[in-house]
């Protein structure tokens, strides 16, 4: 029997430690892991809990991240509660197996400390790895600080393991900015946290010898499409379960989370749409600008997948809203940023139909501070006052060299 961990009412934890404590409280059967910066302390901490008797499960050291996720898939198919952690290049190496996990409907939890992808090699935080996972069929939750890294990790188990969902879940936090920044975190007692998640209930587990099953079957053109459609529907339908679990978590903790967080949007004229630790930066900027009379608001998708088309649309359905800038912290690879594309599609179905622009920012850990957020808000205000987009649609924040931008509006 695992020992109880003595916790204070308020602990000083960084995001990694918060995630590893949540994993410990989930009493996972198997963690198969291969450490990588900046997520290393998650599995390092977990390994220490195992060694010191705080976890009953198995910790499997493997030869690579591909092996780590493969071990997780095997253990989950066998019928266990399973989790691991990774970042960046390790995430990229996992990608093949991420699709297996979701297609096999295995509710694995993957905690990700977001980091840039090489080349050039970079250990700092941006959202390249999170974006790389966006078509993988996983639920992707985004924590903006250490407390949320803890909270979202607990919720991830309950969401993914729900009988109407049975899908793997990633919990993202920003590498270093969140993963290594110590903050006040209010944890639950071990028994309370475990009771919230509940006992693991296996489905189609390979260790049920009364009902042998084949996992990982091959399907060709006659079956593949139906299976992918069913999987997609499960992911789309997980939205209501996510809402329910977040509501239940609020009942337990008083901390309220939504699939899309909104700040000052009720009467906003201009807005930024942001992810991760930049949300708090944008909120501080909006607060300061409101004192100057600029009605600034912030929209922050907490749930990146399934993409909350419904709630993003609701958030942007504001009669006063004129200009919205979507902030993408990932090199877009010859396109507009993914957040811009997806939020714009949702905005196009609103009556408000605000002007939409895109900033690429923060690549490889480039700092994004309140002053820059305010400058971008003011640029949106200039669009709103002019009645048309006054800059290129895609621009680059915090970039040295000649001004870089792409595409101009034909509205106006």
């Amino acid at each position: 029997m695992a020992k109880e961990f003595d916790l204070n009412e308020v602990e000083v934890w960084d995001g990694n430690y918060a995630a590893s404590q949540a994993l410990r409280q989930a009493q996972i059967d198997v963690v198969a892991a291969y450490p990588i910066t900046p997520s290393t302390p998650i599995v390092e901490g977990y390994g220490a809990y195992v060694a010191n008797g705080y976890v009953d499960g198995e910790f499997v050291m493997v030869e690579s991240e591909h092996g780590a996720m493969s071990g997780c898939v095997g253990a989950a198919a066998a019928g266990g509660r399973v989790a691991t952690a990774t970042s960046s290049q390790g995430f990229a190496l996992m990608v093949e197996v991420l699709y297996q996990a979701s297609g096999m409907r295995l509710p694995i939890v993957l905690t990700v400390a977001n980091r840039a992808l090489a080349a050039p090699l970079n250990v700092r935080g941006d959202h390249s790895d999170m974006y790389l996972g966006r078509d993988s069929g996983w639920i992707q939750l985004d924590a903006f600080n250490a407390q949320e890294a803890y909270d979202m990790t607990l919720c991830a188990f309950k969401i993914g393991e729900h009988m109407d969902v049975r899908l793997p879940v990633m919990v993202h936090q920003d590498g270093f900015t969140t993963s290594h920044k110590a903050q006040n975190v209010t944890p639950l007692k071990d028994a309370v946290a475990y009771k919230f998640i509940g006992e693991y209930v296996p489905v189609n587990d390979m260790l049920d010898f009364s009902r042998p099953v084949t996992h990982g079957a091959q399907t060709e053109e006659d079956w593949h499409y139906e299976h992918k459609a069913k999987q997609h529907k499960a992911l789309m339908d997980s939205r209501s379960v996510i809402d329910d679990v977040l509501a239940e978590y609020k009942e337990l903790t008083g901390r309220e989370y939504k699939r899309v967080e909104t700040y000052f949007m009720e009467d906003a004229e201009v807005a930024l749409v942001v992810l991760g630790s930049s949300v708090e930066t944008a909120v501080v900027a909006a607060e300061e600008l409101r004192k100057e009379g600029i009605k600034a608001g912030v929209v922050a998708p907490r749930c990146f997948r399934p993409f909350p088309f419904d709630l993003v649309r609701d958030a942007l359905e504001v009669p006063t809203l004129k200009a919205v800038c979507c902030m993408d912290k990932s090199a877009p690879g010859g396109a507009m940023g993914a957040l811009f594309n997806e939020v714009s599609a949702a905005a196009y179905t609103t009556n408000a139909r605000p002007m939409m622009t895109n900033y690429i920012y923060g690549l490889g850990g480039r700092d994004f501070a309140v002053d820059e957020a305010k400058r971008i808000f003011k640029e949106q205000k200039a669009h709103a006052d002019a009645g048309h987009i006054t800059t290129n649609i895609q621009q680059f924040s915090g970039l040295r060299g000649p001004k870089l931008g792409f595409f101009e509006t034909r509205r106006g």
């Binding site: 189609n204 010898f209 009364s210 042998p212 996992h215 079957a217 139906e226 299976h227 069913k230």
Partner: protein, 149 residues
Amino acid sequence: MSTGVLGTDKRGIRELGAEEKVGWDEVTEGVVLNSFEGDATNVVHQKAEERNYADFSSYTATVASWRIIKPVYNRDVCIDCQNCWVWCPDTSIVSRDKQMLGIDYDHCKGCGVCVEVCPTNPKSLLMFAEAEENDAALANWPEKKKKEK
């Protein structure tokens, strides 16, 4: 193509792909396939023809059409050494109580490994064109080879 002791069970009862196609709402979650109908707790103690294989078990599907050459088995030469049974990559050598019974032509892919590992002289398994009748193949079985001095 099932013959002999396994001729009456569910082995190879339909072509692979001839199964009933259902819509996305009826496919299994996670592409999981059940191997058996009902409780299979003691299935390990049952012989294949006694097991209640499910429709989506590969056992019930025939893939004989994948093969262009086939092994033919000659009972008169076989010494029941079980080499072919051990080496067959598709468990398509049917053997009971260490006595070789024949080939599972529903699942044999015609790879020829059984012929390669057969130690008798002449061999008890030889490859023939798929279209050739087994009786004709057996009628023209080669003679024992003499050792060259």
